[in-house]
């Protein structure tokens, strides 16, 4: 099937990723390119940014189909918030604020919150809005638990925690980044092969059922896969917002709404976008580094409003 716009989308995405990746290796806090600095700092970060960027974008696209709402984002489900709660509990138990130290509790937190959503989705009559609102409430619950910990913790660990909550990739280590990238690609593949179910869900629950898709079962499976992917992203880079919103929004303009094309395009563009955002975060305030979440939020939050106000129908 010839589809020139789609090919252009893939081509541009790969090109952008390549350019972003080279820029990420070339640019940094200092102009001089030092072998150790590139291999120990810039390469792990660029790899982690790619992994998290593709993970968050695909998670966003999947959630938007699941809830038939283009404003859905990994954060609206509250799963990332659950991840943060897990990490905070880990820190309170004395674990270090590092990717390795807090990955396990962050995963666990995501699982618990996803589990709650999963149980809610079992309830008869639990529609999209129920789940979405439940996710928003879980997000509130999560951030209040984090706030509780911040009020009680001593100032020592707070700084690292704050940075992590803002979304920060400075913890990247080469081995961890490679593992993250492989896991992200694997999970994305598992979501991608369910493209038919995603397409059906996007059309709404009734249409999906008439197409022979078991709505409840597919939704549960996809929610679990998506939360795993979000857990992976949050434990690696903290709360990076709006990538999952912005990338699918623009990818749809090239790939259309069908997920067999949309998911891979989201992955490529997401990787390019976050790698680029992180490179910007590293160089705009030299010798300081910004948390990448600040950069993505500065671009993403206005865009969120723009998409929301541009929609003809209401949110529900």
């Amino acid at each position: 099937m010839a589809h020139p716009k789609l090919f252009r989308g893939y081509f541009l995405g790969l090109l952008a990723w390549l350019i972003a990746f080279i820029a990420a290796l070339q640019l940094g806090a200092v102009d001089q390119v030092d072998f150790e600095v590139v291999t120990q700092l810039r390469l792990p970060r660029a790899l982690l940014a790619s992994a998290i960027g593709m993970g968050l974008s695909v998670a966003g696209a999947a959630l938007q189909a699941l809830f038939t709402n283009p404003l859905c984002e990994p954060y609206t489900l509250g799963i990332s918030s659950g991840s943060a709660v897990g990490a905070v509990i880990g820190a309170a138990l004395g674990l270090q604020w590092s990717a390795g130290g807090l990955a396990a509790p962050a995963f666990l937190g995501a699982f618990v919150f996803a589990g709650i959503l999963y149980l809610i989705s079992f309830r008869p009559g639990a529609g999209n809005l129920t789940l979405l609102l439940a996710g928003v409430m879980l997000g509130f619950l999560g951030s209040s638990i984090v706030a509780l910990w911040m009020a009680l913790a001593d100032a020592q660990g707070l700084h690292g925690a704050l940075f992590w909550l803002m979304g920060d990739l400075s913890r990247a280590r080469l081995d961890g980044s490679i593992i993250s990238l492989i896991s992200a690609v694997g999970l994305i593949f598992l979501i991608w092969i369910r493209w038919k179910e995603l397409d059906a869900l996007l059309m709404g629950e009734e249409d999906a059922m008439s197409l022979g898709v078991s709505v409840a079962a597919s939704r549960r499976k996809l929610i679990l896969l998506t939360s795993l992917l979000i857990g992976l992203c949050v434990s690696g880079g903290g709360m990076i917002g709006f990538v999952g919103l912005v990338v699918p929004h623009f990818a749809r303009k090239f790939a259309g709404a069908l997920h067999i094309r949309l998911i891979p395009l989201c992955a490529i563009w997401g990787a390019a976008a976050l790698t680029l955002a992180d490179t910007l975060a590293r160089i705009v305030a030299r010798p300081y580094e910004l948390p990448v979440g600040v950069v993505t939020a500065l671009v993403g939050a206005p865009l969120f409003l723009w998409i929301m106000l541009g929609r003809r129908e209401g949110i529900s």
Binding site: G28, A29, V30, Q32, D34, E36, V37, Q40, L41, R42, Q96, W97, S98, A151, D154, A155, Q156, H159, G160, F163, D168, S170, R171, R282, R286, P287, Y288, E289
Partner: protein, 306 residues
């Protein structure tokens, strides 16, 4: 009958007036003193020798105890983690210095509260003052301010001579360490206080002055903040001779890990010459006489044992 009533009434009034007079004359008799503290506030202390002292930071508890000797009963409240001297551990805690419990402080009915600009929230201090509680605030951002705070506290506690002596002792010790540093080559030092994000010591910090006092050169002397957070790349580029990780508390493991993580960059001078180590930071961060101990620890960490 009537005249008797008038006399009774009059005597009642007289008694009342006498009582009023006595009440007002008490403060006049017991030498109230005025002290101007580090915030420029003029504090009126009701007695020359306060007997209900509350200290809002561990270092302030330590200093107060130094001036009281065996008379520690005069301290009625301390902040959390006030553990030096050990006898202070038994005194009632008013919570952590950065967010202490106002109600507890008020309930202790202190006649002197010692606070510091280095950690105690300004709004809480203002609140105490608005309730009429005398709060003397010290500032300990520089070495000379530490001496000044020692004098201020001893004066507020009614033993100004002891403060003069201690400040002189501190001054002498600092001069001795500084004199030693003059004959050594200056080493370029990165003093790290946190990782992920990397947090270092900048020009505004007290620790920057400590580095200069022992004759070291802070590689981040150009950054104006107290504790800037430069990129790791930038630190690698500055290539310090020595990397010190400041450790707080008894458990050194996380700080040793921070020191070890520099091994990722084998070409760094500090790594190839094995000059990456942990510095026990509890004494150098104490703006008390123990600061001298901290300075010599820092000196040894940079230049090795003399």
């Amino acid at each position: 009958m009537r005249s008797l009533k008038i006399v009774k009434k009059l005597s009642k009034r007289l008694r009342f007036l006498t009582a009023l007079f006595v009440l007002f004359s008490i403060p006049l008799q017991s030498h109230a003193q005025q002290i101007v503290d580090a915030t420029g506030t003029s504090v009126t202390l009701k007695s020359e020798k306060p007997s209900r002292i509350v200290t809002l930071a561990p270092s302030l508890g330590e200093l107060a105890a130094d001036f009281l000797g065996n008379d520690l009963k005069r301290i009625v409240g301390v902040s959390e983690y006030t553990d030096y001297p050990a006898a202070l551990k038994k005194i009632e805690s008013i919570g952590a210095y950065h967010r202490f419990n106002l109600e507890k402080v008020v309930a202790l009915k202190p006649d002197l509260v010692l606070a510091t600009t280095d950690g105690n929230p300004k709004d809480q201090v203002t609140q105490l003052r608005s309730m009429g509680i005398p709060v003397v605030v010290v500032n300990t951002q520089t070495l000379s301010q530490v001496s000044e705070s020692i004098r201020l506290i001893s004066k507020a506690m009614g033993s100004p001579d002891a403060g003069e002596r201690m400040a002189a002792q501190l001054q002498k010790g600092i001069e001795r360490i500084h004199a030693r540093s003059q004959v050594r080559p200056k080493k370029r030092v990165l003093l790290q206080i946190g990782e992920e994000p990397l947090i270092v010591v900048g020009k505004e910090s007290f620790l920057h002055e400590a580095l200069e006092t022992v004759g070291a050169q802070n590689v981040y002397a150009d950054l104006k903040a107290h504790y800037p957070r430069p990129a790791v790349e930038d630190a690698v580029h500055r290539n310090p001779d020595v990397i010190l990780v400041l450790a707080l508390g008894q458990d050194l493991t996380p700080f040793q890990k921070m020191a070890i993580s520099w091994q990722r960059f084998p070409h760094l001078k500090a790594v190839s010459q094995k000059e990456t180590r942990v510095l026990q930071g509890d004494t150098i961060l104490r703006p008390t006489l123990r600061l001298l101990e901290g300075l010599s620890l820092l000196e040894r960490a940079v230049y090795g044992a003399p």
